[in-house]
Symmetry: C2
Subunit: 340 residues, 2 copies
């Protein structure tokens, strides 16, 4: 191959902290030459960039579970790609890898947090989805935080999204009754017909409160919350005794420009001896291999499907692709594939 | 003694479901003769009636952890008294007992849920306080739901109330840093000077957010919530990683006449991998003897104080005494002593 110094790295950087939905003014498109790796480093050519609701939080200033993306920095993003140059003893040219490589075409890495993956076993996007952070989030959120037991009733919001669609399938594997809440008839049909959910509630057209009561007349043991807002508040009214509510996200509020109301029905926790619990998948990193092996097994056996919503484009399409998440346009895991 | 049929039982019954604070229109004062006990029953002359924030919830219609008090029924209340007539093999005249005897002077009981107590060991009101539901609520809420560990930082609201004052003392026994939130300088002084709390925050005059930051600069491991509302919302901003928030009550909202806002900072649970969990002390009934024995030991050793705010009066004073709770006038456990 030619020298990396011939390569130009197109990048998307954070230009300003957005108020509300991140429009074009939030971003800066930059290019820089790709440098030779220093000793102990390697260069990855990125093929797939993961789009995640959490990105919106990373764009805000202030204390959180990770530092915010600095103004002027390349936007933080999980990504997958191939090693094209290496001065690192553990990574060779041609290795396929995933890591927090950022919204750019080429990343320099010292290997920290980088996983080698095998594209002959499953497609690369699946390593960002079912076998990546997405799948780990579903797995540990449902089984550990949610403490799921066989035969329980599970409700998941953003059910046709990356995490939600895995949560529901995992609960079905455990013999649970599964109700998904999603937006639109196509997503709802997919949940029931393809993924085997027992019921899908369309929050855009159904009366969610009534629909949940009908779908889970005896109440809900686990409500896996990806959306926050009004749907969380409704779900709280349907909890059974001892219910668990893993708080995975609150996509309905991430682009709000003012303080958001909290769940006014939280006293249902007291009446029903129930709990809400936040979690971060990074806390389970020691157990990722075990979980990924189990999930890969279910994938091979056909018990689990990984659906990726792969958008072809260039790094410059990253900002618009991100907005698809917040408009609820994706089904399954949203991934930007760098094709050009 | 004379026949029980000579005795008149003064009672307070629920006349109407209150909107907001329960005023006189919520109550009906009735009298009826005391009947001879049927086989397997006994009659208790009530000496002390417990006043509890939960009573406000029992007055509302609708599904909850216990059925509502029916209109026309004697108001549900924990109480203590003495057996004066018995046709029950397990209870003898002169036995001192506690139970859900109601807001009245005499109760007929079949012994269900009744505890025998020894007034020569500790005063009767203490059996409704530290050694009753109040103490059990503090004990299991802090140690089980709160999963308290030695040396942690604990914040408790309504800290000068019945449950809160026990929670803080229990946390001190476990070597924790304890911050109490209470209303007014006298209560705050009592918490620090008498009960050994490290800091007391006066929510009526302090900026609670600033005061909490100063009192617990490294954050809060357990926030024991008795009040809900704004103080819960502030406390959520101060959680440490892995924090626990037992939801014991929400007295700030019990008399609200419209929907109450929920805790808008609940997403702190996610960022901090924290949990909120509701609980009901009745779920721990099998372990009451063990907990009561431990608490009684600490009481004897002087490690724990039981403070009862004993109001002398008649059953007719029950409605006004209850209002003291919601005005925050009590320090320690509010008890109506029937002196008339």
């Amino acid at each position: 191959m030619s020298s990396v110094s011939d390569l130009v790295n197109h990048q998307v950087r954070l230009a300003a902290r957005p108020v509300g939905l991140p429009g074009p003014e939030a971003w800066e498109h930059t290019t820089e030459p790709v440098a030779d790796p220093a000793d102990g480093q390697f260069i990855v050519r990125i093929s797939h960039i993961s789009l995640d609701p959490a990105m919106r939080g990373w764009m805000n200033a202030g204390r959180s579970y990770v530092p915010p993306v600095e103004i002027g920095a390349v936007m933080r993003a999980f990504a997958a790609g191939e090693v094209i140059v290496s001065a690192h003893p553990g990574f060779a040219v041609g290795d396929h890898v995933t890591g927090t490589f950022g919204a750019q075409e080429y990343a320099v890495s010292d290997g920290a947090g980088v996983q080698k993956v095998d594209p002959s076993a499953v497609p690369m996007p699946t390593y960002l989805a079912l076998l990546g952070m997405t799948g780990m989030t579903a797995y540990f959120g449902l089984f550990d935080v949610g403490a799921l037991k066989e035969g329980e009733t599970v409700v998941v919001s953003a059910a046709a999204g990356a995490v939600g669609s895995v949560v529901g399938q995992l609960a079905k594997i455990k013999g649970c009754r599964v109700v998904g809440i999603a937006g639109g008839p196509e997503k709802c049909a997919w949940l029931v017909e393809e993924l085997g959910f027992d019921v899908a509630v369309d929050y855009r057209s159904d009366d969610v409160k009534k629909a949940l009561r009908a779908a889970a007349p005896d109440g809900v043991d686990v409500y896996f919350d990806n959306v926050g807002g009004e749907i969380l508040d409704i779900a709280l009214t349907r909890l059974r005794h001892g219910a668990r509510v893993p708080i995975c996200g609150a996509i309905s509020t991430y682009n709000a420009t003012g303080p958001q109301p909290g769940p006014s029905n939280y006293m249902s926790l007291l009446v029903n001896r129930a709990r809400t619990e936040g979690f971060l998948v990074f806390d389970y990193v020691d157990r990722f291999p075990e979980a990924a092996a189990e999930m890969a097994g279910w994938l091979r056996e056909g018990k689990l499907q990984s659906r990726e919503d792969v958008v072809p484009g260039t790094v410059a399409d990253f900002p618009d692709t991100l907005l698809r998440l917040f408009r609820g346009e994706n089904t399954g895991k949203l991934v930007l594939e760098l094709t050009g």
